[in-house]
Amino acid sequence: MNPQFIMDGLIAGAIIGLGAVGVTLTYSILRFSNFAHGELLSWGAYLALAVAGALGFLSAGLTKPIAPFSFGWALPISAVIAIGLTGLLALAVDALLFSSFRRRGSAIIIMVMASFGASLALRSLLEFLFTSKPAYFTKALQIAMKLGGGLRATPDQLLMLGVALVAVVTVHLLMTRTDIGRAMRAVSENPALASIAGIDVRRVIRTVWFLGAALACVAGIMSGLLIQIRPYLGHDLLLPLFAAAILGGIGSVPGAMLAGLIIGLCEALAVQAVGAEWRAAVSFVILIAVLLVRPRGLFGKAS
């Protein structure tokens, strides 16, 4: 068996993991599974693409690749801007939609349903704006370097793995070491108690939306850079994201990342063993297995 599947799996897994961290955070604090989370990945990628395009238009120098990578400064700059914009998009959707349901105390399932409608609208809007033709951040081709042990990776791939690692460690430290992190965990356990402990629950909710969207944007850009950008980019990742969030245990940041990597590796393995056409079924199988054997996941609290 070709060991290259490990590299492919790690990359897919990092993307899934970042997205799943967002899912797990929003789930644990807003208490519903957000079917529109995948769309945040797609919107993140397209927003970065649009901003990078505008930057390249302003100054051609920004598109000149930074050796050894395939992209110029336009991408990192636009990534930062896109992260902010994706965060604002999530806040806007919350303000227009979910906050009303929270105010009314609607059933969880109503919010799930609304997220389902929002996902449909957001995805088709992307299709309308950018058409369903795949797009790319760069046209430059990269030569994969030999890493030893039969593994190869392009500099872009290695960089993205590094970015994912840094992002997850940062979020983990944020959750465990800072006021806002503790406040998030407090709200996730008991919103009423959190509010009388002096925590501004609405601010925590806004922070969580922003954070989840920011991570989704990073994952979307990773996927866009290493594979391609399509309106269905996020939708096709939604099942792996949910599977990873549940496998990792709802609310656990390291769990979601680890589970993302597990699912990525399983997918890559399945692609080699069974064929690429069955890739999408892997997360379903894992999801069913988790629900059967250990519904609270690897690091989840017993409910």
Binding site: S33, A107, I109, L120
Partner: protein, 323 residues
């Protein structure tokens, strides 16, 4: 000319009624029981393919073709989709309410994959053709053919409607309502909520499978493209517009939304230049998504709904601690 219009109207209404059947199935799951199914397309597809396999003539390049009578196909469809629903429900209904939603979403993805890749069973991307149509011997007379098919659909919908109304008033339906309104109290009376929910989910899935079969035989061929997630969205839009929990609303919603959908699609294809049609179609879907959200925000009871499960569902919320 008027005959043509009549034939077309009959055709259109028959199609709308197949959606009404799906909608009635969804109403058993959501309206009566509060179970959220995001994989409607999968249950419809499984029904359609089952019936197609049972009733088509034998074919050398795929499994089956058993040439059984159409009603056997319909029955088989309801049974397989029911079994699939039962399996999904048995796994997830005891868990958090949205795990069922996630699992059904997974089912939809997986069934889509199976339709595409299990070539020897499903015919792959091209699907299955030559599905026998009811009243095929009337086919030369478009009007008679359309009217006969419409009559069949109308009878099926009416029968289902009456059966479901009866069921809602039966002891079983009353227990279901009791569970939805006060799970604890129902449990205290010795009713096992999980069992009743599972039965409702299975029944709803079986009805969706039946709808899939009805649709397949009405159109005459099926392919994976017919069972994309958009089907799920459409049916949800129908039920929400009609008012969930209300069988008449479910039927009316199906006809209304299908009509709007068909009209806007026709408008797109006449007025929008060919190269822009894909884009216009995505705008149409944006409209469904936004419409769904607006209905949830402004008219959670639906346009025709009198009874809303949404208010009742409040008790399913993470119950605030009672002291």
């Amino acid at each position: 000319m008027t005959l043509d219009i009549l034939a077309y109207a009959a055709f259109f209404l028959s199609m709308a009624l197949t959606y009404a059947i799906i909608c009635l199935g969804l109403n058993v799951q959501w309206g009566m029981t509060g179970l959220f199914n995001v994989g409607i397309a999968a249950f419809v597809a499984v029904g359609a393919y089952t019936s197609a396999l049972l009733t088509t003539p034998p074919s050398p390049d795929r499994f089956g073709g058993f040439e059984l009578p159409i009603f056997v196909g319909w029955l088989g469809a309801a049974v397989t989709s029911g079994l699939l629903s039962w399996a999904v429900g048995a796994l997830t209904i005891r868990l958090r309410s949205d795990y069922l939603a996630i699992a059904t979403f997974g089912i939809a993805v997986t069934v889509q994959l199976c339709m595409l890749n299990l070539q020897p069973l499903t015919g792959g991307p091209f699907g299955i053709g030559f599905i026998p149509r009811p009243f095929a011997d009337l086919q030369d007379n478009a009007l008679a053919f359309s009217l006969a098919n419409f009559a069949v659909m109308a009878i099926v919908v009416l029968a289902l409607y009456l059966a479901l109304e009866h069921l809602a008033k039966s002891p079983w339906g009353r227990v279901l309502r009791a569970i939805r309104e006060d799970e604890m109290a129902a449990q205290a009376l010795g009713k096992r909520p999980i069992r009743f929910r599972l039965q409702a989910f299975t029944l709803g899935g079986a009805i969706m499978g039946l709808a899939g079969a009805a649709q397949a035989h009405f159109i005459g061929f099926i392919a994976p493209d017919n069972y994309m997630p958009i089907l799920t969205f459409q049916v949800w839009a129908m039920l929400i517009v009609g008012g969930s929990g209300n069988n008449r609303g479910a039927i009316a919603g199906a006809i209304l939304v299908w009509g709007l959908w068909a009209l806007s699609a026709a408008a797109v294809s006449t007025f929008v230049p060919a190269e822009q049609q894909a884009r216009a179609a995505s705008l149409q879907i944006v409209a469904i998504g936004v419409g769904l959200c607006l209905m949830l925000l402004w008219r959670p009871r639906g346009l025709f709904g009198e009874v809303s499960p949404l208010t009742r569902l409040k008790s399913l919320r993470a119950a605030p601690s009672k002291e």
